[in-house]
């Protein structure tokens, strides 16, 4: 499980979906990076991800890893947002039977997990049907 510092460091991404757009080739990296994976550039402009997109794939996790034991089964998917960036997250508030490739989704702020009854609560983004 992440320590508070590992979680806290990613808050701008987890809470506000802050990304970095390469000044050279305009590729958007999420999370932001030091080196553009497309052109090797080092100069970036802060940007925020689009709020909506479509699922390009998904699955339903039925055998969960440790911190997610109580949540299973849950759906996860990769969405291609309307700005072209791809994002991985759980898909909630959606009947499993309704999941399909191409389905429109939007991001929503949700609880991701927590470190037991006494530990830090981890928040972040999930997808809900648009």
């Amino acid at each position: 499980m992440p320590t508070p510092s590992r979680y806290w460091r990613e808050i701008p991404q987890r809470y506000r979906l802050e990304a970095g757009k390469c000044q050279g080739c305009h590729y958007v990296s999420f999370p932001p990076r030091l080196v553009c994976p497309r052109c090797g550039g080092r100069e970036f402009v802060p940007t925020k991800l689009a709020e909506r997109g479509k699922l390009i794939t998904y699955t339903i996790i039925r055998v969960p890893p440790e911190p997610f034991e109580d949540q299973s089964p849950y759906a996860v998917g990769i969405a291609e947002l309307d700005d072209g960036v791809r994002l991985t997250a759980q898909v909630v508030d959606c009947d499993f039977a309704a999941l399909k490739v191409g389905m429109r989704v939007k991001t929503e702020f949700r609880k991701i997990s927590e470190e037991g009854a006494a530990g830090v609560i981890y928040y972040g983004y999930k997808f809900v049907p648009e």
Binding site: T57, P67, V76, T88
Partner: protein, 384 residues
């Protein structure tokens, strides 16, 4: 660069080895390899292991395993690239011999996975993914491969039955492998009715949690004749990386790192894919084998499902894939898999594979990959 040969192989039965610790599992296989080679010394050790720290709280395997093998003060390294740690160990050992740095190198792979609960093992395996942007959201390896399967099925019409046929074929092969974890056949119906792990993948689409080790002994080819058994040359090695996160891939239904590593290994060996007689590939999940056959160029892109349905990759097919039983039937002690692939190919090229022998096998290819394809290592082997 010198030519490199494998002069000895060793592997014990894989499974849930409750009575054996990581150190004993490794040492037993290493001793078998050393005896098979007939060497009286080794110059160096390279060990592949993904996650001894998370599974048994033990790092510093270089010291631990050289110590328990009775080989102190021999130089030893532990390498890691998730599930391709074994293949990576083989490549590093190859480089040591080829460069002239060492003559006799012991390459081993080991993983002890059953000292933790299923959820903890799933978590440990999940460290091969992007911790902050995949695992943080509750993704698991079956989940990631399931998403690749959904994309592949959507794009190419690959079917659930075709995935099942990969498992059935590999169990058919594994039923003839006395060292396999699951040496028995299964049916398509059994796969399709087994419990769901991450839709559409079911438990019988997934390689198991396994304890096991495998080892090979390398030496320069021009010295290999001095040893007792027919030797096998490693004629090509290729390695490549790709994005850590599945969402960053250019095409989530394609394994680019395998494609590049395979092309490089074959180019180095001066061979085409059609020259290879047998393949040991990384069927961590049934969909993986289908995608690997495409990435290696055995079949055109998108045709991997059709190929297995048509028997192209069966033992008696045009491209026999996973005669050993693959990860599915043989087992998948993560760090050991890449080395065990080499063990199988050597046995096949020596004519020692018993009931699963591929007739007149002269050249083999092993493909080992890590995570969802973030790393891949491919080797080409040729009989003496």
């Amino acid at each position: 660069m010198r030519d490199v040969a494998i002069i000895g192989v060793g592997m014990t039965k894989w499974g849930e080895l409750w009575e054996k610790s990581l150190r004993s599992i490794f040492v037993e296989s290493a001793l078998l390899a050393i005896e098979d080679a007939g060497v009286d010394r080794i110059d160096s050790m390279v060990v592949g292991c993904m996650s001894s720290g998370l599974f048994i709280g033990q790092e510093h395997l270089s010291s631990l395993l050289s110590d328990y093998l009775g080989q102190n003060p021999v130089p030893a390294s532990r390498v890691e690239s998730a599930c391709s740690s074994g293949g990576l160990a083989l490549r590093q050992g190859f480089i040591e011999v080829a460069s002239g740095m060492s003559d006799i190198v012991l390459v081993g792979g080991v993983e002890k996975m059953t000292d933790v609960t299923g959820c903890e093992a799933t978590f440990a395996l999940g460290t091969a993914a992007d911790q902050e942007y995949e695992s943080y959201h509750g993704l698991t390896f079956p989940g990631l491969y399931a998403m690749m399967a959904v994309a592949h099925m959507h794009k190419y019409g690959t079917t659930r039955e075709q995935l099942a046929m990969v498992a059935v074929k590999n169990h058919d092969n594994g039923s003839k492998n006395p060292l396999a974890q699951f040496p028995f056949k299964i049916t398509v119906e059994a796969v399709l009715s087994s419990v769901l792990v991450a839709d559409p993948l079911r438990i019988l689409d997934c390689s198991p949690i396994t304890d096991g080790a495998a080892a090979v002994v390398l030496c320069p080819a021009d010295k290999a004749k001095a040893f007792k058994k027919p030797f096998v040359r490693i004629t090509g090695t290729g390695q490549a990386t790709d994005t850590i996160a599945l969402s960053s891939r250019n095409d989530i239904a394609w394994l680019e790192s395998t494609h590049i590593a395979g092309s490089k290994a074959l180019a180095m060996a001066g061979r085409k894919i059609g020259d290879i007689d047998l393949f040991e590939v990384h069927d961590c999940f049934t969909i993986a084998e289908i995608m690997i056959t495409e990435a290696l160029g055995l079949v055109p892109k998108g045709q991997g499902g059709k190929a297995v349905a048509e028997g192209l990759t069966a033992r008696n097919g045009k491209f026999p894939v996973n005669a050993s039983g693959g990860l599915k039937a043989k087992g998948h002690p993560v760090g050991a898999t890449g080395v065990a692939q080499a063990v199988e190919i050597v046995k096949q090229l020596r004519g020692e594979a018993g009931e699963r022998q591929i007739k007149s096998a002269k050249r083999g290819l092993a493909q080992n990959m890590g995570g969802t394809g973030g790393s891949a290592v491919v080797h080409v082997f040729e009989a003496e």
